[in-house]
Amino acid sequence: MSGSIEVRGLSRTFHTTVRRPGFLGAVRSLVNPERVAKHAVTDISFEVQPGELLALLGPNGAGKSTTIKMLTGILTPTAGEARVVGTVPYEERERNARNIGAVFGQRTQLWWDLPVRESFAILRDIYDVPADEHASRLREFDDLLDLSSFWDTRVRHLSLGQRVRSDLAAALLHDPPVVFLDEPTIGMDVVVKEQVREFLRYQVEERGRTVLLTTHDMTEVERLAERVVLINHGRLVLDGTLDEIRRKFGSTWQVRATLADGHAPVEPWPGVVLVRRDGPQVVFGPDGPAAPTVHQALKQVIERYEVTDIALDEAELEDVMRAAYVQAGDMAADMAGDVAGDVAAQAPARTQGG
């Protein structure tokens, strides 16, 4: 399997009409509409290697879905380039369609009035999947997602969890090397979520599929993704591992230790500060951008001191992401401001250069 995603300087701008308030405003908008440009995605670049699961994160309206739509070929970028398994998706949509599977949150691609298995059969024909391959893939998906307990039920009668599981199977029936999942587990209960996570993990680790996942569920990110791309206000603000994100935005861990010698001297070391001491009870915390991860700090404490008990309080990823979204929003705004400043600075030069 050779799935990979390459994104270079991808941008997308939408032009919308501003509706002015009030009756007169509405008339003015009709006669003299005011068009404004909304930059949904600006100059995003990243790569996803074959067999990698990348979480594309960001608050609502950050540009995640727009990015996925460009990568699936249903939206053309204003600038930049994207390749999915070597194909430019918005130029060769049908070829790209054979290489990708997609699930868009609560939008189902199954036929509402038909039993799930009939939908699968129609997709088998549309994607031209040989019958024996189709049957063996269905068996595999059934083992992982327990589809056979409801696949003779019409889609309109499925629960949300059953429907999303069916949609996941539908997206993978033609064995695509790349899968796009836009908030696939939204609204599902924890049991089904875990089943879906197991399924995705299997598809990545055992089947080598490349998965691009957007989600607001941080447990999902924690359990599935090693690498995340964080975007906000349409700009990429971080591309790295979860540890890097924690280090950058989530410096709220604490290591609580009970020293064997209650009078032993305790000194902070680079990246770690002594938060408080009460006899043998000591609490360490992170200090500055060079702070180690909580697990590194735990190891360092054990190496430096003889301890009889040790515990850690780690910031939940959700807290980290909350901090990340806020700070990333400021960063994205700064980046946009810098670009605007550059453009403003260049404008007179261009005029002069004329």
Partner: protein
């Protein structure tokens, strides 16, 4: 060996008929409605002709045959896509139209295959209804094999024209996100101008002239008039040519709109 994709994809035509077959109450309702409509329409036209011989060039048997065939013909394209959440309007509303553009089967081909399946399935209903009505003496069969043949060709062309008219209305959704009003106007115009409510021969001359410039009468009025003998075989060639011309004009128009619709989807992202 795998079947060629073009051959396999035709099975997308199963979508709407399968939905109906999986919903027996919907089929029962359709059967009941069709039966009641046929009985009422036949009674109405028989009543209207109680005190007259020939009106608007149609005698009683011709008028009843025309009216009942019009009811049966509506079944050909009147499957319930709405309940199956499978109208273009619903796909635009729910955002599921993106999946039409995420498959290796072009949306226009999928739409055409689905419509073909609906028409074949609807035609099976109509043919059974026709056989029952002929056996019951409600409908008179064509006067000759030649008339029957011309009628079949004309009916086929008429359904083709109707397909393009329905497609054009659905395509409106890509630009307006709403086609309810257009659909209501279409249904009324289609029923009135194609002769479902009453044969066009009963309308004033100016109305018949006006409707001759529109595609609607090519859908139903022409084939049914050929069937009952109101249009003679000698005029059939011209009528078939007009129907074929409408097929070509509407095919070109809707092809153009499909391209614009695709641009619309890929500029807005579905």
């Amino acid at each position: 060996m795998a079947m060629p994709s073009a051959l396999r994809a035709w099975r997308a035509a199963r979508v709407t008929p399968l939905g109906e077959l999986h919903t027996p109450p919907r089929m029962t309702a359709a059967l009941l409605r069709l039966t009641v409509q046929v009985v009422l329409v036949a009674s109405l036209w028989r009543g209207l002709y109680a005190a007259t011989g020939t009106t608007a060039g149609l005698d009683r048997e011709q008028a009843v045959t025309y009216a009942v065939l019009a009811v049966l013909a509506t079944r050909v394209r009147e499957l319930d896509q709405y309940s199956g959440r499978d109208t273009v309007l619903q796909h635009m509303h729910f955002g599921t139209i993106v999946y039409w553009y995420l498959r290796p089967l072009p949306p226009q081909r999928y739409y055409a295959l689905r419509a073909l399946g609906e028409q074949i399935y609807g035609f099976a209903w109509a043919i059974v209804g026709y056989a029952v009505c002929v056996a019951a003496g409600v409908v008179q069969p064509p006067k000759s094999a030649a008339v029957a043949g011309v009628f079949m060709v004309s009916l086929l062309l008429g359904q083709w024209v109707l397909y393009y008219i329905m497609l054009a209305i659905d395509q409106l959704c890509f630009f307006t996100l709403r086609n309810g009003a257009a659909m209501l106007i279409l249904i009324f115009a289609q029923n009135l101008l194609s002769g479902v409510y009453a044969p066009l021969w009963f309308f004033p001359d100016w109305f018949i002239t006006l409707s001759s410039f529109l595609p609607f009468q090519a859908t139903l009025s022409v084939p049914l008039s050929l069937h009952v003998g109101r249009i003679q075989l000698s005029d059939a060639g011209t009528q078939l040519a007009i129907q074929a011309a409408w097929v070509v004009v509407l095919a070109l128009l809707t092809r153009l709109v499909w391209r614009r619709a695709a641009l619309r989807v890929i500029s807005q992202g579905g």
